[in-house]
Symmetry: C2
Subunit: 592 residues, 2 copies
Amino acid sequence: MTPSDKLSALREKMRNENIDAYIITMADPHISEYLPDRYKNIEWISNFTGSAGTLVITANFAGLWTDSRYFVQATDQLNDSGFQLVKLKTQGAAEYITWLSKDLSAGNTLAFDGKLTSISVAKQLISALKPKGINIRTNTDLIETIWTDRPSLPNGSAYLLDKNITGKSISEKIREVQEILSQRGASFHLISSLDDISWIFNIRGEDIKCNPVVLSFALFTLDGVQLFIDSKKLNSEAITELENAKISIHPYEEIENAIRYIPANASIFIDPKRNCYSYYALIPSSCNKIEDTNPSTFLKSIKNETELAHTRETMIRDGIALSRFFYWLEQNLGKITISEITVAEKLKEYRAEQKDFVGESFDTIAGYKEHGALPHYKATPDSNVNLELDGLLLIDSGGQYITGTTDITRVISLGNLTDDQKKDYTLVLKAMIEGSTTVFPVGTRGYQIDAITRKPLWDEYRNYGHGTGHGVGFFLNVHEGPHVFNASNTDIAIEPHTITSIEPGLYREGYYGIRIENLVASCLGKGSDFGQFMTFETLTMCYIETSIIDKELLEKRHINWLNQYHSEVFNKLSPFLNEDEKAWLASKTLSI
Amino acid sequence: MTPSDKLSALREKMRNENIDAYIITMADPHISEYLPDRYKNIEWISNFTGSAGTLVITANFAGLWTDSRYFVQATDQLNDSGFQLVKLKTQGAAEYITWLSKDLSAGNTLAFDGKLTSISVAKQLISALKPKGINIRTNTDLIETIWTDRPSLPNGSAYLLDKNITGKSISEKIREVQEILSQRGASFHLISSLDDISWIFNIRGEDIKCNPVVLSFALFTLDGVQLFIDSKKLNSEAITELENAKISIHPYEEIENAIRYIPANASIFIDPKRNCYSYYALIPSSCNKIEDTNPSTFLKSIKNETELAHTRETMIRDGIALSRFFYWLEQNLGKITISEITVAEKLKEYRAEQKDFVGESFDTIAGYKEHGALPHYKATPDSNVNLELDGLLLIDSGGQYITGTTDITRVISLGNLTDDQKKDYTLVLKAMIEGSTTVFPVGTRGYQIDAITRKPLWDEYRNYGHGTGHGVGFFLNVHEGPHVFNASNTDIAIEPHTITSIEPGLYREGYYGIRIENLVASCLGKGSDFGQFMTFETLTMCYIETSIIDKELLEKRHINWLNQYHSEVFNKLSPFLNEDEKAWLASKTLSI
């Protein structure tokens, strides 16, 4: 079936069922960012593979709403699909709702699959369209019957992590969640988000690429917990351990019944952004709903001492792999054929040599020259190019280790750089250092760190379209909340011991892209007459290319930071390198 | 009657009317920041004169909830009043509601005067307390019968401004508002906020100290406007001019009936933060309510070319007055007795010599030594001290001119400064320059400017408890929205041609306070490959004391900015000064 056959088939279904508009979201029943193949409806019907987007189909129109990160890619991929690109003004906003409210009239019917739509998006749809007399069907999966070879759910195995890895037992975590539920007056709590469940139950799995989570739901009461999971994924020791922690295990599919049987008048705590609408609609109507961010999302974001110690050690292992990779690249460039895809493969090989490596934390972005200007580029056989002794190469990659998650971006010069490229690179580096060295009072929000990081670029009339940083999990998702460093008005204070990326960038479409990214941990710093202050500890350990720096653009404090960082990188990594690698790293980390 | 007599009388009233808790707010039916004397209920019953606070009275407790700006002052003023100070954690938050919800039980009765309570605060109260079974009376004014000599409403005269002052006619402004109402689907629009009304109708008055507004309400339809005002305040030419603009004029008190007679099923646009609950409750229940910020609040914040040109010229006149004042102060210090009160009086005298001066835009804060550490200090005969040849003097003052509103803070040295004082002063200056020179992309929020301004202080573990800046009116209120430069997550983009203060500070309780404040206008700057950028134009024209600067703490760009600013100040002010003043200003504006 070609994409346009699929679209025709969908429209026929819509006519048969009297549906005037159908929405296809990018989500699963857990409102995940990375999806099991079964739920890749958008990719299947439109060819679009980006990580964010929504399709809206009517009799006369079919469109993909996505954000600026994907404009170039979407234009390319949607070709011949029958779908048009609609450019979002604000990343993540449900702007198609405004379009629908203009396109549809009273008496029309809109449908979507509520299992693949968050509570908050579904509520936005309902509150915008219902008053206009539009009928809304919230439980309509039209894809199932058209997609004849639709993949089944993944059945990767799952396992428990030891407390000496996680620093906290399952029982302790359950108690912490229950304490918050009790404070909030909740008697029940449904969790669908896979990283929250993985954190609470110290469980990891293989169901989703790059995210070591396992398909499951959890239903809390104040004195008990039910875990809904395919128990074949677990070995008998794991099942015993969970049962010893007083967790009752039920089949994955039974969550629907369990929700139906929540007692009347219970108070149920539910996160509207991380649960699907269909399950929300199953909650008995007499129940009181407390809608707020999952307590575990806050708890999980604050890393304990064990997690931080493991992460620091993991950063050294990741840094060794990166050093060996960059050394190999420098030795072989111009001698053997190396493409963007080779870069990704080779980097994975070096990471795989390291202890406790499980897999990549996301698909490596190796963007040579103009490909570097696409912040979410992934080389495909079609787009793949060979590296030459010229221009800039951007590599954004990360690893999942049992002992932590990494995410790092570096840019290196392959030769013949212009002064403009050096200026752009140096300003991005300056921004990264400004963010990393910020001293800020307790209570500071991510939007404040974002502004301070961007300032060196703004001063020179430059900017980047993505956020400055995202929370990072501990051997979990590479993107996690609740905090974020971007310009949005997210009202979450930066707590001590969170891990976040700082990754300013600069993109010249058609020419090159630059991004420099480290992970940092927030720490309590000095107190003063003006209150308690905080700082960041840089966790990532890998040299930053200095040959591209225009030193005149940096202030002394930036140069000092870089030299100190490089001395730390060399001291921590060199004991694990051979003599050639060590000499090479010494040259890469020379003071400027 | 002593305050404690008044409190006893109130409690007796409460007993008679079976009221268990009574709330006294700091507002009038226009939800103003500055109040007519008639509505100064909090000052009358508790002696507290701060600009923000709420009283809650029960049989066993009487408390004032206010924020950190007023902790010292409130402790002092509440003495013997029977009221206790309750310290707010977050400025402006209605934290007393949590207290009430714990203190009251089902069946208890809470009462307040809905005329003096905003819609949003009343709704918060109702939604927090009603589900707990607490009865809520929203129309109870217990003060009226106890306050026997309560002042009547002010009856200052009012007048219209010419279009060559305001740059836009009344009809144009009315049309702009009506256009937005039409876009939003509203058929009616109630405006209670006095600065919005003053802006739309190009009207000014004398009803409220420091704010040149007139008590009035406005009721818009899509093709007509009613203005509710005591017409005795206007001369016949003004009435004719308003009538020519197709405005129908009604007595002030008739607004209540007009609201009652809004037709059933009308769609009424109403700002929940700037209208009182009692009038909201009068709207026929069949009406659809669109609750959002007044359109005029946005329109008013964007100054037109005429307003900006007048403001620039007004800043020169204000700068001349300030220069003459500071010259006089320097000539006379140590020779004659000069107190904090003298400073305020003398400064007002010099301003009054200037063309178009109407009055102060707020009560002058002249804080010598430790008084400077109280950000909202106002010298009273009790607190007033004489200046000596020692320490720091902070002066925050502003003028209302027909041609614009000013607000400026300077700190000068009277002698014997320590290195710590110089460091503190220089860091505040550095912060002010950082904020003023920020280059930022279109769409930037005030919280981003706030962070960039604070950074030089954070770097040295210093901070200030107030916001970085507030919007300023054109011959209107010295505080106006919708934008603000502070750490709150206020999601309002900085539009071109707004006027805002940049006023970082630093306060050492018991020792001294520092604040340096200029007003700036936002302007479109350069565009680049990365979009359209904006900058600030500094409007305030007055030298900044350089003898206190520790030059080592500034970077070259800060020094350049200061020298350039001083050269501009001298060039603009000196033509209006006599030879002695001119020589003195030349010495004050020498390059450092």
